[in-house]
Amino acid sequence: MRKPRLLRCIQLIIMAAFAIIVLAGCENQFLVLEPRGPVAETQYQLIVVSAILCAIVVIPVIILTVFVVYRYRDRPGNKAPYKPEWAHNTLLEVVWWGIPVVIIALLGFYTVKATFALPKPPAPTAIKVQVTSLDWKWLFIYPEQKIATVNYAPIPAGVPVQFEVTSDAPMNSFWVPQLGGQVYTMPGMAMRLWLQADQPGEYFGQGANFTGKGFAHMQFKVVAKSQAEFDKWANQIKKTAPELTMDGYRNLAKPGLADVMSFSSYPEGLFEYIVNKNGGPNHKHHSNNHGTGHETEKHDMSGMHKHH
């Protein structure tokens, strides 16, 4: 009697799940698999290549498992050979040491190539955005436009954007899946990440490294606009938005959530101040030792940050 009831229970759950899927609508967005910029595109290609290379091994393994278990299972009258002492075959072992070596070598080659290629922006980047992760919001500073925003970041489309990221709170990670992979925002360090949106549009971004209570709400939008519209927007902010004072920044940096905000100005050198006050000079010392220090302590993806 127990069996049918349990089955019915499982059936019910499956039906409920199905209903939810239908109700929620099928607007599944596989952001990582729908790249909208060259960095994300490269990474997407690597994902595909690595998945295929892995499948070359995994699928035969699974098929072989099923086959072996079926053919050699212990049942009366099984005519398949039984050789309990057969435990070594040099040729076979060479084959299965060899195949993974070849595949890993191939994948390793692609990986190393991309690892070295990716950090370099294609040309001098068109615009710089300084990103600071706070508890629990994102501050974007536009040093060339002299404006700042919170929780949204307009950028010009079609050109490489240089993001410089740091944190004035526990370490977070700056991630805009459709534009490209992430980099940690670390207190006292300014890391570089270049991204580019090929087309105007809104791109979902978020903090990817846990920072406590409000972490789940650290989402932001990167809004790519045409250069003209971007300039228009920047001018508008310059004219209409309030100023961000030092006190204003200190308030903003206090733990808590924030809405989308814009500022027509910010204290001069705010970003450098944030980096320095969280131990920037210590890290600068290390990087200078290795000749990769910049005018301030900037580490980019290729500028090794050495403290292992």
Partner: protein, 201 residues
């Protein structure tokens, strides 16, 4: 009678095996301790220059003090070696005497170290002043705690030697404490070089 004798021999063999097993385990423990100190050294080297406006090594290290500490600890390592030699000769009085000398030297070392720490703290160089000092106090302090622990252990072994004389168990214990003592000496040589010498240079 014969049975009893073979039983006794058997018993003796078991003990012998047990003691050599314990010494092997102690060697492996020293490997783990080595990694522990290695990690502390690594953190010290990383944080060495992060003085955050606080004093640097040169300003707080007292050359006479740490040279004296080094000399005392090296000597105690030598005397602990003499203790093992005496044990092999079966001379229990000599063995205990050398252990007492070793322990007294160890005590002097700890005294000097406490004095050094005390002066630093009085000058305002505490564990919470800067990352450099956190790393310094933790590294040197961990070594100091090891030495203090060794002292208590050594005293316990001396008492046991007095009670039981030299037998497979007590000689294994003497051997291991001296091994431990030499190990701490080697760690100190690294401390002396990496922390103190490089600090005042």
């Amino acid at each position: 009678m014969e049975h009893a004798a073979s039983h006794h021999k058997h018993h003796h063999d078991d003990h012998h095996d047990q003691e050599s097993l314990k010494t092997l385990g102690f060697w492996i423990f020293l490997v783990t301790d080595c990694i522990l100190f290695g990690t502390l050294f690594a953190t010290y080297v990383v944080l060495r220059t992060n003085t955050a406006g606080g004093p640097v090594g040169k300003e707080i290290f007292d050359v006479a003090g740490f040279v004296a500490e080094t000399f005392i600890l090296l000597t105690s390592s030598f005397t602990s070696g003499l203790a093992v030699l005496a044990m092999h000769k079966g001379k229990i009085k000599e063995l205990i005497t050398w252990l007492i000398v070793t322990a007294l030297l160890g005590l002097a070392f700890i005294g000097l170290e406490i004095n050094e720490f005390y002066h630093m703290v009085m000058e305002g160089a505490t564990i919470s002043t800067s990352a450099f000092l956190s790393a310094f106090f933790t590294l040197v302090g961990t070594h100091g705690l090891h030495v203090s622990f060794g002292l208590i252990w050594m005293i316990a072994i001396m008492i046991q030697l007095g009670r039981h004389g030299i037998n497979p168990v007590t000689s294994r214990k003497v051997y291991n404490i001296c091994l431990y003592w030499h190990f701490l000496d080697v760690v100190w040589i690294f401390l002396f070089t990496v922390v103190y010498l490089m600090g005042v240079m």
